[in-house]
Subunit: 352 residues, 2 copies
């Protein structure tokens, strides 16, 4: 039967009813078809009838009676919370077209823009799990914070490239979660960047780290990637795990007295994780930035900086045997008491 | 016949053949269906057969033989140059989901981010016309530059809002083109922002403005919006056309000696138009920015600033009878000779 070769998943909008005002009651329409969306393998389900927001129950639809669609407009379900989707193994996949405004004079995106897209995919993943709307019931008012982020970029995407970001999370020890990312350039088919991060639980009142309970692990378990997987090869992981020394007063590259503005902060009222990467990169001499590009960046977060906080950002070049690449050690600290906010390392290779 | 109720437009990808490497030869598959995409009215065509990149000619497809799709993957045609589409009246429509990284602590986007999305839609419109790939044959090596931009924002979109940007262009006098934009919040259905800009032709060698030829007008004509339309009401247009005075040495708000970095510039090697708006806003006192938001901005571009150019950005508050809003006059000039780069005006209302 011809109609049975149609497969899609969408939100059905009945004229006169705004679905956007009833996101929790959004209705699903599932039919089998060969039309793919965003390269994702959509849920392989049969038509199950249409549940419609605001309590309206439409006649059920079978694969034999597609004609009911005539009165309706199908709007893709992802349309208003990004375009990502969950794969069967709990990987979240989202695609981004590299915008004109995201590329610099070289026609390629910067590390910060890439990091921002990683953050975007991670945020939309959490939203997709509906954690963003209703925080896990076993969180007990605690929040998750990241303690480490490591990104390796083999090749920066260019203007108009379509990048596909896969991200997932899984346990790392008893009290932390690891989130990984792989970035693929859809045009070339190559995996061009890899990232990993560690997340722990923090008491939102005392701002101290706390342990994860068995109940919370059980709540997260259905959302974890299965089977477990690393974004980065064993070799990359080993190489990136070298200890980052804490810079002292002798650090040669210094930007002091930076006041965190509203634009440096995100909705959590803290300096955004990506902004710290920008600050690290700002300390690197212009001549290095002109001839080189970041191939690897590691950042270890120690504490948060608030809006209007005054910080010092310092860096120093590391001695390495590799003559092609330049390595820098970074430290961001509070100007008031010198307490460490984060430390990091960047590796720069000649621009491609 | 059930299959005839299927309608889509896409790029057909044959396993083993990368369509992304042959964008000009990309093949079209058109079938009639009720599945809409991005709210656009897609071309109402019948199946016309499949032309495939790299010279492969697949068997033609009729609406009765959808089964040929089994061997193929349909990838949306818009997927790698943004998600916009052209409507019948030559309006270009593109939708953007407001990203986490695009909102500040207030949970809403900034004027600069909105301006950046307007620029993105305009750029993708030009690409869609294939002007980006092969500049108009009657351009004679000239380029288009903008001389004025005016934006009014009634309501800033929030995180996760889906905004729909409509943009089009049409003649403005004998030697310039006007590009307009309307921004709609899809969630609320409201039109939330309006913008207009003027574009002229410049000789890319001498950097002097030049006249548009009859041949060029004829070449552009099929891409102009028909019927002509203003994004802004007569009242808004009149109110925004007040002359902007040139600030002198007495301007109270000054940021001097700013060096345009690589990150301030775009692929044209000049400071990006949106960056000038950021610079204007930076001069406004923090206490105004904390309690107010930009409702209107006008900028008149006089000349370009290059990478590593040193500029002075000055502003002063205007006396107005309106006690609710604050008006500022702005001027950006070269530090070396004081020559004007652009001037502008911002109107600030209490934050909503």
């Amino acid at each position: 039967m011809a109609a049975s070769s149609v497969r899609c998943q969408g939100v059905v909008q009945v004229p006169g009813h705004s679905l956007f005002s009833v996101p929790y009651q959004r209705c699903n329409l599932r039919l089998r078809t060969k039309i793919s969306y965003q390269g994702c393998s959509l849920e392989d389900s049969r038509a199950t009838g249409i549940r419609i927001g605001r309590g309206i129950q439409a006649p059920s639809v079978s694969t034999e009676s597609v004609s009911v669609l005539d009165a309706l407009t199908v709007v893709n379900e992802n349309e208003y919370i990004g375009y990502g989707c969950l794969l069967d193994d709990n990987t979240f996949r989202e695609r981004f077209v590299i915008r004109f405004s995201e590329v610099s004079t070289r026609g390629r995106i910067s590390l910060e823009t890439l990091a921002s897209l990683l953050q975007e995919a991670a945020t939309n993943h959490v939203l997709k799990m509906e954690y963003g709307f209703s925080p896990g019931k076993n969180m007990n008012g605690n929040i998750t914070v990241t303690t480490r982020m490591h990104i390796e970029v083999d090749k920066y995407p260019e203007w108009r490239d379509l990048v596909e970001i896969d991200t997932w999370f899984q346990p790392e020890g008893k009290n932390s979660v690891r989130r990984d990312w792989i970035v693929k350039n859809v045009r070339t088919g190559e995996s061009i960047a890899f990232a990993t991060s560690t997340w722990v639980l923090m008491n939102s009142q005392t701002r101290r780290l706390c342990k994860m309970t068995e109940d919370l692990w059980q709540e997260l378990e259905p959302h974890m990637r299965s089977p477990a997987k690393w974004a980065m090869s064993e070799e990359r992981r080993q190489e990136s795990s070298t200890k980052i020394p804490k810079l002292g007063e002798e650090a040669a590259l210094r930007i002091e007295g930076v006041v965190a503005s509203e634009r440096d902060c995100d909705m959590n009222q803290h300096v955004n994780n990506v902004r710290y990467l920008s600050w690290m990169i700002e300390t690197v001499p212009e001549e290095v930035k002109r001839s080189h590009e970041v191939s690897k960046i590691t950042i270890e977060y120690r504490q948060e900086a608030n809006q209007e906080e005054c910080v010092d950002i310092v860096a120093d070049i590391e001695k390495t045997e590799n003559i092609d690449t330049k390595h820098f050690t970074h430290l961001t600290k509070k100007s008031s008491d010198g307490k460490e906010i984060n430390r990091g390392r960047t590796v720069w290779r000649p621009s491609q």
